[in-house]
Structures are given as C-alpha cells and as structure tokens.
C-alpha cells in the first residue's frame, strides 16, 4: 500500500504535511543494497546508465541528449542564488542571480570550467541568452523562495542532488531535491518541479525517495518527501516507509529493463 498524498499547495497545507510526517523512518541495510545491485547487474547495458525520477515517469523512454538551455540552467543558478540570499538577507534576489552568473563567467574565464559544464556553455552564448537565463533563474528562485517562506521550521537548501553509483552495474541513480527540513526525528525533503504532475508523478517521487535513501551513508530514509508543483498549485507526498522504498527500487529496475529493451530494439 502506498502512502501517496495529494494536496493543494498552500503554506498551511505544506506545513501540515511536514508536521504530520511519520516520526520514524526506515533504513536500508547492506543486504538491501546488495540485492538492488544484483538486479541492476542482471540487466546488461552497452553504455553507462543514468536513471532518475524523470526516466521512471517516462517509463524509460529515450529522451533527446541533454543540452544546456535557459530552462535547464535555471535550477542550478536559481537555487545557488537563493542560498546566497539566505547568507546575505539584504541582497535582492535578482542581484544574487546576477552574482551567480558572474561567478560562472569567472570560472570559465579562469579555465576552471570543463567543456559541457554550465559555466562553459554560458560563457559562449550571446548576452541576450544570458539575460534570458537570468530571467529564468529568477523565476525559479522566486518560486522556491515562496515555497520555503511558508515553512515554520528550520530548513536549508541542498547544494547538490543525491547521486548513487550502483557498484559494477554501470548505473548511476540521481535524485532531485531542493529543500531539506530538519526535524528532531529526521529529515523531510522538498522537491520543486515545473509544470503539471502526470499520472506517474507518484512513482517518480518514490524513485527520488529511494535514491536519496541509498545516497545516505547510513541508509536512513527521509521521513517524508514532498513534491511541489507551483505551476499547478499541487503537493504530492510519499512517506519514507519500507513499502515505498521497495516500490521505488522496483520502478528503477523496471525502468532499466525498459531502457535495455528499447536499446536492443534499436540495435536490431
């Protein structure tokens, strides 16, 4: 049985979801990790496999290769700008975004940006595109800031997503996470997404929950993961229960199988 909940996005609904999160969380042991590893190893792959919530939601359907656009760049810059504003509350969000962009330029100019990185891409685009990236990042930072503004407990922004490398299976799992709410009994994760949640948004959220738990060094699951869709004004949440962790792991394995079948069909 799943613990998926659906709510309208209001500050009070979000606070309630956080306060009413379970007080105990599950823990993945080495046996769980080994079991998952063996399943991934059983699915052959020609190239390195990268799985995330989006690949689960789209059932492993091949997507176009990643490239930087103002939309793909907004989250990294926007979250970093918001973290900057948290450190310097007197700073305007737009100024913080501009500072982040300037820092990326500086990194590229001093040779610290590798090809393919955001800084490298940004250094090579026209100034109009840089302004568009600034506008997109400001949009993102504002909406994440508005979500966080309604919280009445201590929270922090995650500097990075969660990554878990499955040993000897040529597989990397990535979980998106934006805000961590720290409670005495554990952590609650908030993940902000653009657009409208689809029918498979729940499995996507469970995949993020499982990967975040795997990435935790002690294997402790978050008390709850909350997906926030500000464009749609929707909240979805999943508890860190063992049933949901197992379902998340199963979805990830199924996605790898679906990907492998598609690759085989293309090769044939």
């Amino acid at each position: 049985m799943t613990t998926l909940l659906h709510r309208r996005l209001t500050p009070s609904a979000l606070r309630r979801l956080i306060h009413e999160a379970p007080t105990t969380s599950s823990q993945l042991t080495d046996d769980h990790r080994l079991s998952l590893t063996s399943r991934f190893r059983a699915i052959p792959t020609q190239q390195h496999r990268r799985l995330d919530a989006w690949s689960v939601e789209s059932a492993g359907k091949a997507s176009s290769p990643f490239h930087w656009t103002p939309q793909t760049a907004r989250r990294a810059i926007g979250n970093a700008a918001l973290a900057r504003v948290m450190r310097q509350p007197s700073m305007a969000l737009l100024d913080a975004v501009r500072d982040e962009v300037d820092e990326l330029f500086y990194r590229a100019a001093t040779g610290y940006a590798r090809p393919g990185s955001l800084a490298y891409w940004l250094a090579g685009v026209a100034h109009a595109v840089v302004s568009l990236v600034t506008a997109e990042a400001l949009n993102w930072a504002t909406q994440v800031g508005e979500v966080a503004h309604g919280l009445d407990c201590s929270w922090s922004l995650y500097p990075t997503d969660a990554y878990y490398d499955v040993a000897s299976a040529r597989t990397t799992l990535r979980a998106r996470r934006d805000i961590a709410v720290t409670k005495e009994t554990g952590r609650v994760l908030l993940r902000v997404r653009a657009g409208l949640p689809g029918k498979s948004a729940g499995p996507g959220l469970r995949a993020d929950l499982t990967i975040d738990t795997l990435a935790d060094e002690r294997g402790v699951a978050p008390l709850r993961i909350i997906g926030v869709w500000p464009d749609a004004g929707v909240l979805l949440s999943v508890d860190g229960a063992m049933g949901d962790l197992r379902a998340g792991a199963r979805d990830l394995v199924r996605t790898a199988v679906a990907q492998q079948r598609q690759n085989t069909r293309i090769a044939a």
């Binding site: 939309q71 503004h149 653009a194 500000p230 749609a232 004004g233």
Partner: protein, 311 residues
C-alpha cells in the same frame, strides 16, 4: 495629505464660472500672479485639490499604486471559485469523459466567429519576439538591437517551431519590415514600462496549469510579467500582459483569465491585472476583486460549453 494650493486648470474653471472671458481682464488677472501665486480672494476655500505627489508615469509605477491602500491578501476566494468551476463543468459535461482533456487557453475565450489578423504567423512572431524583449527588460538587460536580441533569446528557448520555419521563409523585404515592426513595438514598450525594481521579484512567462473535473479539463495560461509576492499579508501580486494588437473585448477577458488562474494557482487573489498594447500604447489596469474573478469563471465555462458542443 498634502495638496497643491491651485493650478492653471482650476483657475480657468473658476474664471468661466465668474464670467472672466475678456482677454484684457485675463491680462489684469495675470499681473498680480507675478508676485503671488494664489490671489488673495482665492486663498481660503478650495473646491478641488491636486495631489502633490508625482503622478505615476510608468506602468510599473501604476501597478505599484499606493502601498498603504492595498487590501489584505484574499486567501479564501480561491476554493469558492474552484467549486463554481467544478459545478459548472459538471453541468456541461455531466458524467461524460472526453477522449482528450479539454484544454482552455486565454485565446480560447475569444469569439469563435471572428478572425483576428494578429493571429497571422507574422503577427504571432512579432508577439513572441516582443514577449522575449519584455523578459530581457525585466532583468535590466541592455538591448541595443531589439530584433536580433529577441530572436537570439527565442532560439535559445525553443528549438523547433512552425513559426521558425515561417521566419526562415521570409524574404529580405519581409524580414526588414518585421525588424522595423518589432523595434517600433519595443520602443513603445520600453518607454511605457519603466524600470522594474529588483525587490519586486519580477517573474516572466509565468506558466499555470490547473486540472479540473478529475483531469477532463486543463486550464493553461502564461502571464508575461508578474511582480510582487503571494506570501505577504497584503495583496501585492500584479499581473502584466503585453500584446502587439490593439486592446479590445478579448483583452479584458484575458486580464480576467490571468487573475483567475493566478488565484487558483496560488490560492491568493492578485492585487491588479494589467494589459498593455504596444500597437496603440494603451494600458488597462484593473484591481482584482471577486466580481471580476466570477466573470472569468463564466467566461471559462462559456468557452468549455462551446468546445464540448463542437467536439
């Protein structure tokens, strides 16, 4: 509240009332004003007063309005509006489930029997480019070549589009005309908009999508520029829409629709909704209230009724 003592318009009005219409009398009237702004006989009672504060010149200043007069944020109307929409939807669809969700956009609210020349491919390209320029202006970008900058920003955002193909097929004359057209619209926009203060949290191309009737209907919208925050005690969110067409009945529907979707999205009623035509330089600004939102609910239900009837 501080007020000005007098001004030329009020003086003339009084002159007409008192029968001062002869030029020589006017000349005599001016003489004492060289030393004293207000004649002695006029320095007591005043029929009208003029605010000494500067009249807002830019749209942004108009959107801001007087902060002390802002109402408390309305966080209770959204659920009622949603219920009205759901009830109206059930009256239209009943228990029927359309094969594809019925999707409502701001453009769906227009009259079906009319043809809008601004919906021609060239008109659409011009609209898209002006929207891009608004995005750049909102973050204080320096725009030296509006057409090229807008095109560059658009291509970075959208990889493939039918409008791209149309743009590529334009000959040099048509392209030059479009460049001039976009530049003219941009100049109008830039002059009217004013500078957006960074503290106002300007967001551009803000998308909204709301599902109704268990997913049988999706309301979609894009607001060109949004300022203010929905987390403040007083209403502060202002919605700004730019169009390259003259303003008309549809513009009013669009303004209402923006306000409705923003209310459903954030559960907070915005303060103002505004639309600006770069074709005429005309601006319409309305304070958002429940009546306006209820009218928009009727607009949406009317559009859905037409869509369902014609499907």
């Amino acid at each position: 509240m501080a007020v000005a003592t007098n001004d030329e318009a009020h003086r003339k009005e009084r002159q007409h009332r008192n029968g001062y219409e002869k030029h020589n009398e006017d000349g005599e009237e001016h003489a004492p004003r060289l030393s004293r702004v207000t004649p002695l006989r006029n320095s007591r009672a005043m029929a009208t007063a003029v605010l000494t504060k500067e009249v807002p010149q830019s749209i942004i200043a108009s959107l801001r309005g007087e902060p002390s007069l802002r109402p408390l944020a309305d966080t209770v109307s959204a659920s009622g509006l949603r219920a009205q929409l759901e009830d109206g939807l059930f009256e239209i669809l009943g228990t029927a489930v359309p094969a594809e969700p019925l999707t409502v956009y701001a453009t769906s609210l227009g009259q079906v029997a009319t043809t809008n020349i601004n919906q021609s491919p060239l008109g659409q390209i011009r609209g898209v480019l002006v929207s891009q320029l608004l995005r750049l202006l909102s973050v204080g970008a320096h725009i030296a070549t509006p057409f090229e900058d807008a095109l560059c920003a658009w291509k970075a955002e959208v990889r493939t589009s039918e409008l791209f193909d149309h743009l590529a097929r334009l000959d040099s004359d048509e392209r030059a005309r479009l460049r001039t057209d976009v530049t003219a619209h941009f100049v109008t926009l830039q002059r009217a908009l004013g500078t957006v203060p960074p503290r106002w949290l300007p967001r551009t191309s803000v998308r909204t999508a709301q599902r109704l009737g268990g997913g049988t209907v999706v309301l979609r919208d894009v607001v060109d520029l949004m300022v203010g925050s929905s987390t403040t005690l007083h209403a502060s969110v202002a919605l700004f829409d730019v169009t390259t067409a003259p303003l008309g009945v549809n513009s009013e529907r669009t303004m209402r629709y923006h306000a409705l979707l923003q209310t459903l999205r954030s559960n907070v009623v915005p303060l103002r909704t505004c639309t600006f035509s770069t074709a005429t330089g005309e601006t319409w600004i309305h304070d958002v209230d429940y009546t306006m939102l209820a009218r928009s609910v009727d607009d949406v239900l009317g559009a859905l009724y037409n869509m369902w009837k014609n499907s």
